[in-house]
Symmetry: D2
Subunit: 347 residues, 4 copies
């Protein structure tokens, strides 16, 4: 129980079911004196919304700050942010009440708690990530003061690989203007996605993340290593199935001399930041909500055919980009505060 | 700070530097009444020791249980286990006092804390994993009562892939008899390792882990999902650079219909165990301690050549197998206890 | 930082400033399947409101459950409860912007965070206890299923002592009908309070609390003993200056034979519940907001005279009774869940 | 479960049963660079040992630092301290295997865990406080750098009151030379104690504690207020039955104007330190181990007569003085580190 809080000093608690009254978060431990406005939150929430490429239904998310900010600055008290759920039609989900969608958490959730809110996945909905983004916006604001910058992008969709920073065509400023958040011409990928949409199918992908400006020394060995905490943060995002730092799985096939020479660490050694860029890749499975008819089990254990109605994202990866950034920001903000306790202060 | 405790209800705190007086752990929260003997601990510690294949210096690790066990059973009080460091020759490390070994945590550790125990890496030494194995042995004992079984093996070394369970030649009982913990004839791998040893080089690899007997319902969304916590556990092991669950990175290239059909979830959906086998792969970089001369920086920022003396493991992956199992066991034991609080008990 | 969460498994995070947009709480870890309605929350919130005896301004507190409850039962997900602040007139507090009220947290709060919301004490306001009561209502509901009943009352005001359970005139059902929550004829106390009101002064008092139906075995030695956690819970209520269990301070003057014979333990031995009634007293200082002119310091360190305007409670003790119960309920609910992990379950 | 860790950033985990192999603690989160020697630990442990006045059996406690200190300074890694149990005669306790001593935790402990180490109370023994003192010695060293000084003394035994600081005869330096740690001529008290010893009876008392040099701003509202955390710390000491801050219970009988004028806050307002002296009293019940024959229950629920053999402290209060100081030190050290995260650092 009680798995809805993240962080030690910069602590975030989130709440909300997809078709309940509201989603929200409480940020406890943000230092006092930080400038924070509703616009800071809205900017990030907007990045998470569906666009022309995703093809799913849009919902205007209007955040409200209920506490913790006074005269434009944080008070050091909990910052509560709430977003009402408005674009919800619960009746759409009546057909799913007694059936478990393949690849979704319907079955496990019900097995764990004995019941579930079946409307839109309830708390296991992707809509839950909205709260992470709202909290992450605050963390980013805090990190920006220290020059820490977190940028993620879509580095692969449906097996199609994209350039990496430094390679041809990679311009960070272009990524946000691109509906798929890919660092290059998106035509081939768009064609693939459109084909999948017509087939009622979906695609997965890989998100890469680069963090610059991180001082040396962040991370708390031996269990709260920087990479360990980042891994937990990113793997806690629905649909994420893997993470690798620096050369990652490729490093496992190298020799020590190759790997030592190549600076493949991803900016982390012994679980502590080196002061260089942090780099990781995260794998996201294709969204399991597809239009094609599928076989699945109902509550009574009978095999049934299911056809998931409505418009769903063919590929949620571009919309997961700000979520990955947000979770990374929560981790970094926490470690920045923790690091203040690492050493004696000058006497 | 304070990153040396792992878990919420089944909590483990470890301590010890490689060349200090002792290594140890304190397990708080193990339920009362569990049969536990020093032999249970020794059996697992022995699995972590070097063998003919690893080629590094052996050290007999003799654990002592200082508390928490009375008349052969746990009391519900903290179980402290200590292992004295005996086979240590600190003078060997005098040359490393003012120099940072490439790929090691020497530099980051010193930058974080302002000082470090340079002898054998201090707390960043691989010897730290001994405490994880000792604690994991206790967790395994607890899990075994509920029929949960954790088995890891070497599924790749230096890029050479091994069979997976179900494929030809894979017999779990053979793995432990095999010095490399590979599930097949090890001759090709041994030849590769011997070649690397002669060159003064090292190899990385991949460890796979299968967990059977896990009931449906373990994991605490949204942040303490089962895969998120396993990821943190495994990435907290030194040299681990990545993890993937089920089909992992390969799933990112599949379509939704392919992935839904293939049961690629790795036994976890929505962060909660499905009741099926849990499966993950973890990537380990080649050990950075190599015999070949390397360039590195010293304390004053000067480039110097370093040659790391002594006998080191060419590939630590086989020895990391029981460490992976131990960390997985700590996660599972914790979630088994947490799950007891998920629902109302019958009135 | 991050001191706004209480509990380990039954965890409550509260937020809100007195004159901000809203107060609220998030309860994470309440088991799934518990019947919970808005009426359960309202009933307890109503007990906290001012009445004829307190004489302060009333504010209708209308709670809304934003998440975690579906079809009348808890989901096992976070339960967010919000109460809008409506009866607020921030202009009333302009005069207090640059001055520190004596006996209040104005000075310490500003010194800690570098700023504060001066309107009505901001987060240090007594209004913050509203969130505790809302969360406590949920905990009480959970405890009631197991037959645990928490009842507090005013056992002393302004030095005037009241009967204790078992003595003449003590009827639990009468206490709630009594505006001062005293277990006897309140005339003498009311007369005293009216006299203080005329003088522009205030009174403190003692709240006693009796918890019945607690099973033997709750509490987690050695640091999270039941009495230790209850002490932290009650002392975290503003204005509380002391707590004693069983015979408390009087026991310090007894001999061992007297104390052993008298069963003075207050239902707790070695930090674990004995199965008997739990009993404690908590001391509350007189509210520092008094009408009489007082000397105090302003922001620049100058001594100034302050006269606190508006209608304030002469004695907040009766209104603190449901707050004491709420905090005790949070502690008990947490330990009930923790106790599930104490022993092996039958194999 | 898992109640054997104290603190958030300066975290202490203790272990050990009275007649097991050893007692010990692991301190995680002590900043790197602090000078710490075995003598620092021994000095405090010696203060906890019995003396001529206490009359109980002495045991030489020889601490060993197993980790976390290198070349005389803390490394920032966990500091493990172990003390072997040597003066133990388990056979003494065979008669207590099936019987519950009155006023002790024998019954509750066994009811909770289903078993217990009956030898000398196992983990519920007063010997457990040794670990607190060892950890507290480290915290004191850290606090001393910042000029924070914690001094406790016996302010009452068996109902006999002692002077308070500022009154006649109170000299702090005298207290430690006095076997009862009273701030005045101890003759009357010694006479009382000798009389009780002859009768086979025991006495309780009150410990007062004064903390100087605390900066304004420590404490984390709303749940981790400084007084709330101190209360939990002190109430977690066996035999402690109550605590009060500043005027405490006496304040409950005052008027607001009296209390505001008198500066009765005990150095804490709104849960945050004011920068003035912190002051609290803690009540300790008489030790329940008395020579007089008593009635009690055995395992089968039968009433039996029990006579507790051996030499026991007539009054454990003087020996609890360093324990109170140690626990207060752990709280203060934790809040000193936490406070570093309260505000933005200059940009």
């Amino acid at each position: 129980m009680a798995g809805n809080t993240f962080g030690k000093l910069f602590r975030v608690t989130t709440f909300g079911e997809s078709h309940g009254a509201a989603m929200g978060c409480v940020i406890d431990g943000c230092p006092a004196g930080l400038e924070l406005s509703i616009a800071d939150i809205e900017t990030e929430l907007k990045r998470r919304r569906p666009n022309s490429a995703s093809g799913s239904r849009d919902e205007v998310d209007t955040p409200e700050i209920l506490s913790g900010v006074f005269e434009g600055k944080t008070l050091g008290t909990p910052i509560a942010i709430v977003v009402r759920n408005t674009n919800q039609n619960s009746a759409d989900y009546d057909a799913l009440k007694d059936i478990y969608r393949p690849g979704h958490a319907d079955f496990t959730w019900e097995a764990k708690y004995g019941s579930r809110d079946h409307r839109g996945g309830g708390r296991s909905s992707g809509r839950e990530t909205l709260c992470r983004v709202a909290a992450g916006a605050t963390a980013k604001k805090l990190l920006a003061r220290d020059g820490i910058n977190i940028r993620a992008w879509t580095s692969s969709i449906a097996g199609l690989k994209m350039p990496v920073p430094g390679e041809d065509g990679f311009i960070f400023d272009e990524i946000e203007r691109n509906p798929l958040r890919v660092p290059a011409d998106a035509q081939e990928v768009m064609t693939k996605i459109e084909a999948l949409r017509k087939e009622g199918d979906s695609a997965g992908g890989i998100i890469s993340c680069q963090i610059t400006g991180v001082p040396v020394g962040l991370g708390e060995p031996v269990f709260d290593k920087l990479d360990a905490r980042l891994a937990a943060a990113i793997l806690s995002i629905g649909a994420c199935k893997g993470i690798e730092f620096g050369a990652g799985f490729a490093a496992a096939a190298m020799t020590g001399s190759e790997n030592n020479a190549a600076d493949n660490s991803g900016g982390i050694l012994g679980g502590i930041s080196t002061g260089q860029e942090i780099f990781f890749n995260a794998a996201f499975k294709p969204t399991p909500s597809i239009g094609k008819p599928q076989k699945t089990k109902d509550k009574d254990g009978n095999m049934r055919e299911i056809e998931i109605k409505g418009r769903h994202d063919v590929c949620i990866v571009p919309r997961a980009v700000p979520v990955v950034e947000a979770m990374a920001a929560l981790v970094l903000a926490d470690f920045m505060l923790l690091q203040r306790a690492a050493r004696l202060q000058p006497g």
